[in-house]
């Protein structure tokens, strides 16, 4: 009997917890995304990334040239 009551209480507790989780609104940056301004951030990050990549490619090229001149 005790076990049944205990498991019943557990189930209730779990239900309350899950309800509490869905009900409490977790604040997310939905406005930022819907207003479209997030794209500005993406643009900035993409520019930095592409810039760095171009820089790396030039270094790569330079080393390749050096390797070739050594072999020659």
């Amino acid at each position: 009997m005790k076990k049944i009551i205990l498991s019943f209480l557990l189930v209730i507790n779990g239900l309350i917890c899950s309800f509490a989780q869905t009900n409490a609104e977790v604040e997310m940056a939905t406005d930022f995304r819907s207003s479209g301004k997030i794209y500005v951030v993406i643009l900035v990050l993409a520019i930095i990334l592409i810039g760095l990549a171009i820089y790396l490619f030039t270094i790569d090229r330079k080393i390749t040239r050096l390797e070739k001149s050594r072999k020659a």
Binding site: V26, M28, L45, L49, A53, D60
Partner: protein, 224 residues
């Protein structure tokens, strides 16, 4: 060099671009405490993946060096550690920044955090050992031995110990893994490609450093 040799570097760039776009726009579960910072998973976790891959490459090349005595293998091993330490620093710094806003302190007493800090010490010790040895062959051999000796202990430190201890990180010490929040796998679809992108970038950096070192090494041996 033709385009043929560059394809994986371009792939790395595209994967990173995908990571930025999908990482900021894609759907994420709304969780208390972490809120939008859950997106940090896409940028913080790949640092550790990359570090681990580089250390793995390093230990493989240390083993190769011990059986071949080819100085180039030693150069790959040390440059992997050099780049791996950079990614470890990024992982620690990004983790500290994130922890400060979600767990309330930049250095909460967490086994994963402490483990990675100690692993960093291990690889700094490897670099100190290299500086302590003057003769090139001896330096290569002895540091390779230390690298192979320390690697399994790093695995225990970073992957086995945290699993048996209480941790703030998901997937450790009774915490549920992050797969539980990511029911439709949409987070994995961003995390894994981004991680591959970062790993490729790390390897790219390592090969750049290795090629410079090789050129220096050749200059050095010719001039003598």
């Amino acid at each position: 060099m033709t385009m043929k040799h560059y394809w994986w570097k371009i792939l790395a760039l595209l994967l990173l671009l995908y990571g930025i776009i999908a990482g900021l726009l894609g759907p994420v579960p709304a969780l208390p405490i972490v809120h939008e910072t859950i997106r940090n998973v896409y940028f913080h976790v790949p640092m550790w993946f990359t570090m681990f891959t580089l250390y793995l490459i390093s230990v493989i090349y240390s083993i190769k060096y011990l059986s071949s005595n080819n100085p180039h293998h030693d150069l790959v091993a040390v440059e992997s550690v050099n780049v791996g330490v950079i990614f470890c620093t990024f992982g620690l710094l990004t983790g500290m920044a994130w922890a400060n806003f979600t767990w309330g302190a930049p250095w909460p007493n967490d086994p994963k955090l402490n483990g990675s800090a100690i692993a960093t010490l291990m690889y700094l010790a490897y670099l100190v050992l290299r500086n302590a040895l003057e003769e090139e062959q001896k330096r290569a051999k002895i540091s390779a031995i230390y690298n192979v000796f320390a690697f399994p202990i790093m695995i225990v430190l970073m992957y086995i110990l945290p699993k048996t201890t209480d941790s703030l990180h998901p997937g450790a010490g009774g915490n549920s893994g992050f797969g539980q929040f990511d029911l439709d796998g949409s987070m994995k679809a961003v995390l894994y490609p981004t991680a591959i992108g970062w790993i490729l970038t790390g390897i790219w950096l390592m090969t750049l450093r290795f090629r410079i070192r090789k050129l220096e090494y050749q200059n050095h041996t010719v001039s003598e």
